[in-house]
């Protein structure tokens, strides 16, 4: 029979090489990159995605939330003519601007899967954004009232802060939670109370269950 007498050693060598290649341990590394403008990234990402300025009250947008926002039913609403409609972006389903001599405010509609930590946690997130102390389950009734949106039971919230205020609504809707929020300078926000309610009354959902066109 024809074979090379060193062949068995070669086989052992092959197997050893395979074994060594199979268990390479990652090591710390150092590298240099062109300067990154960290602050710029914060602003642009915030504008696209997050629901609030990039401070400690930013809502945690987990991977998958974007996808869920994309797959949520389409929302139909009619905005008051005085409000300027901006292009919806990222997870925002609607993006509106209210301007007047008394200041400015923005109106956003967002949706997330699940209850996003519960109503109280979300109200407290809003309270923190305008510098109010957290509320407790007992005090929640002082600034909120049940409110029906698109035929489903939601909650209307009125938060008066010193310079900034919030008018908002939270609506659990078929496994998702919808957030309607006006945040901005206190005078203009408070002046828009009834307009905000009209806006909420105009909201309809278009999906396979609710085809309110």
């Amino acid at each position: 029979m024809y074979y090379n007498q060193h062949f068995p050693q070669a086989i052992v060598l092959c197997i050893l090489t395979l074994a060594v290649l199979g268990c390479d341990q990652a090591q710390p590394t150092v590298y240099e990159i062109p300067k990154e403008d960290r602050s710029a990234t914060v602003t642009s990402k915030t504008e696209q995605g997050a629901s609030a300025p990039a401070n400690s009250t930013t809502m945690q947008i987990l991977p998958g939330m974007q996808k869920s926002a994309d797959s949520a039913p389409e929302i139909i609403y009619s905005a008051p003519t005085a409000w300027e409609a901006l292009e919806p972006s990222g997870i925002r389903k609607a993006n509106l601007k209210v301007d007047s001599d008394n200041g400015s405010a923005e109106v956003t509609i967002l949706t997330f899967p699940g209850d996003v930590g519960g109503t109280l946690a979300n109200i407290n997130r809003w309270r923190e954004q305008i510098g109010l102390d957290p509320a407790t389950p007992e005090t929640i009734g002082q600034f909120s009232e049940p409110y029906e949106i698109a035929g489903h039971q939601g909650l209307y919230i009125r938060l008066k802060g010193r310079s900034q205020s919030v008018l908002g609504a939270i609506l659990p809707f078929h496994g998702n939670t919808w957030f309607f929020k006006m945040i901005g300078d206190t005078p203009i926000v408070l002046a828009n109370d009834s307009t905000m309610k009209q806006f909420l009354n105009s909201v309809r959902f278009a999906d396979h269950v609710h085809n309110h066109k």
Binding site: M1, Y2, Y3, N4, F7, P8, I11, C14, I15, L18, L21, G22, Q25, A26, Q27, P28, T29, V30, Y31, E32, I33, P34, K35, E36, R38, T41, V42, S44, K45, T46, Q48, G49, A50, A54, N55, S56, T58, Q60, I61, L62, P63, G64, Q66, K67, D70, P88, S89, G90, G117, A121
Partner: protein, 391 residues
């Protein structure tokens, strides 16, 4: 020695190995339903041994949960097949004109086995997400994370000290290369829920600095997911140790990202940013997304084409170029391949799969060799048959 060689060169071994490969593919397919393609590939095909477990979703799992079938992994079977084929050639086959077709087929097969191994070891896959009108000079691997300390004090560049998460073992101290700093991992969670503590009793956290303290964050470990469209929230408590004394403990997580203010480790005048993030690969060029189009069949939501128009700007301007990336038409650039993978953000963001695979041509060559070998082999038989008939 003769016996050993005879065993390794035997056709019987080939048949057994091929039969086991069949079994491996069968059970791998069953496992894929539970764990997804990525994990199955690691467990079954990029391993030496694997134990198939009775799937949770099957009936009577409570009775049979303990049952399992041990199987040889892909590396073992592929390696043995490789050895089998090579030994058989050295000891049994003789290169003759009559057998040249078989030789070509076998050589193609050997090349295919080698190229698969090379792909496993050398290929790197990651994703690059770019918003329309902006650009990116790095891609990210969402399945792998790194702890980074970024020194932004230099006016011309940022220096990134990267520590792979494999080294984040509780209690283990790792020196940060090129610095006087060390890090000690208190906890590492491959996946977790991060939430805000509802009361102070809940907020007992090892963190003493950074976002974890400021926001009162608490961590609840969670089972690792292998689903295709979910990203694990890798999270860790990291103590940073300076040359003289510990500097504090930070909560880092890949969801505490650019949307949050950077977490800084301060040492006197100097400070470095600390973060846990998806593993990044930086390039000497940047890709700018000019336009992403998402065409649908008229009157429907059914997509018919996704395409991204990009400008690649290289440090060396001669290498800069424009390209249109769409389905089955990737951009091959500097040893990388950019595939159109996905999109997000109301069609404003395009996501590319970036693949570095130095051996990408080998499977093509091996398939051509095998095809050629078969043509020669069957061709010879065919002409022999024709000759016989004409006689």
């Amino acid at each position: 020695m003769n016996k050993v060689l005879r065993f390794f060169s035997s056709l019987r071994l080939t048949v057994v190995l091929l039969a086991l490969s069949l079994a491996l593919i069968f059970f791998g397919t069953l496992a894929q339903v539970e764990t997804g393609i990525w994990k199955t590939q690691k467990d079954y095909f990029e391993s030496f041994f694997v134990i198939w477990r009775y799937p949770e979703a099957w009936i009577a799992h409570d009775w049979f949960f303990w049952s399992g079938i041990p199987l040889p992994g892909g590396y073992l079977l592929g390696g043995l097949l490789f050895i089998n084929l090579i030994v058989a050639h050295i000891t049994r086959f003789k290169l003759t004109l009559k057998k040249s077709g078989i030789f070509l087929v076998h050589f193609g097969l050997i090349l295919l086995l080698v190229s698969e191994l090379l792909t496993d070891i050398l290929s790197v896959e990651s994703q690059m997400a770019i918003d329309e009108g902006s650009q990116s000079n790095y891609s990210e691997d969402y399945r792998d994370n790194e702890l980074v300390l970024i020194d932004r004090n230099h006016p011309d560049f940022d220096r990134v000290h990267s520590i792979p998460v494999d080294l984040l073992k509780p209690g283990k101290v790792v020196a940060v290369p090129n610095t006087d700093l060390k890090i000690r991992t208190l906890h590492y969670y491959p996946n977790a829920n991060i939430g805000r503590a509802r009361n102070t009793a809940q907020s007992q956290s090892p963190a003493t600095r950074g976002a974890g303290v400021k926001m009162g964050l608490i961590v609840t470990p969670k089972r690792v997911t292998y689903s295709e469209d979910t990203i694990n929230t890798a999270t860790a408590y990291i103590e940073v140790i300076g040359p003289e004394k510990p500097l504090g403990t930070w909560l880092v997580s890949n969801v505490i990202d650019e949307r949050f203010p950077p977490q800084m480790v301060k040492m006197g005048e100097q400070s470095v940013e600390i973060a846990l993030r998806s593993k990044r690969y930086y390039y000497p060029f940047s890709v700018e997304l000019v336009d992403f189009s998402h065409d649908k069949y008229p009157g429907t939501e059914i997509p018919y084409n996704f395409s991204s128009e990009v400008i690649v700007g290289h440090e060396n301007t001669e290498k800069s170029q424009n390209a249109l990336i769409y389905m089955n038409h990737p951009l091959r650039y500097e040893g990388l391949t950019f595939f159109q993978a996905s999109f997000a953000n109301n069609d404003m963001t395009s996501i590319f799969q970036v693949v570095r695979n130095p051996g990408w041509t080998l499977p093509y060559i091996s398939v051509i060799l095998m095809g050629l070998g078969m043509i020669i082999q069957f061709g010879m038989h065919f002409f022999k048959f024709l000759n016989k008939r004409s006689r």
